[in-house]
Symmetry: C2
Subunit: 128 residues, 2 copies
Amino acid sequence: MSKLLELADVTAPGSASADPACCAPLSGSTFSEAEAAELAKVFKALADPVRLRLLNLIASAEGDEVCVCELNEAFELTAPTISHHLKVLRQAGLIQGERRGTWVYYRIIPQALARLAGLFALPAAPPA
Amino acid sequence: MSKLLELADVTAPGSASADPACCAPLSGSTFSEAEAAELAKVFKALADPVRLRLLNLIASAEGDEVCVCELNEAFELTAPTISHHLKVLRQAGLIQGERRGTWVYYRIIPQALARLAGLFALPAAPPA
C-alpha cells in the first residue's frame, strides 16, 4: 500500500505549516522573531535553482503529481542529489511524497503555497 | 532633493524585477535555468530572519515608508548590520530607499511582492 514519506523519512515534516501565524501578510501585523525564523527556513529551501525547478515541475505536473523517475530525468544530476533536494523541500513543508511500488510520487502541499502567496499579498493599492 | 538609493549605491538594483518571466506561477510553464537562478537570489535575500522582519516592518509601515532610524531602533543590532541587510533587500529588488536630509526612508517595491504572490498562486482547486 502507499505510504506517505512524511511518516517514513522526514524528521520535521511541514514545520512551517504547523504555524498558522505564517499566513499573515508581510504588510500586516509584525512578525515575532520565532515566526521570522520559521519563515526564513522555508525561504532557505527555496533559495536554490534546482529546488525551484523541482518545485516548478511538481507544481505544474499533469495530474498534480510527478514520479521521481521523471524528476531524475529532467536534470543532469545524480539521483541522490535530486533526492537530497526533494528532502529539503519536504522538510520545508512544501511538497509531499508517496511511495507506490518502485517509485515515489511527489505533489505540492497547496496550503504551503497558499500561505506564501498570502504572505506577499498586498492590501489594495496604497494611498498615493 | 531626494535621491533614490538604487541610483546611488546599489550595483544591481532589482535584478529580478527586470525579468518579467519571473511572474509566471510555479504551477504554470516550466522555468528556464536562468529564471530559476534569478529567483533563487530573491529567496536567498528572504532566507534570513532579520531581513524578513525588516521587510515586514517596511511593508506594514504607516504611510508606506519607514525611516532607517526607526528600523535601527527595532533591533538589537548595530546600524551597519541593519544597513547591510537593507542593502541585500534592495539588491534583490524588494525595497527601495530614498534619502531625505539626514535619514534614508525605505518602502517596498509593490511589483516585487506582487510577482512573488503570483509565483505561489495556484490554479483553481485541483481536480480530486
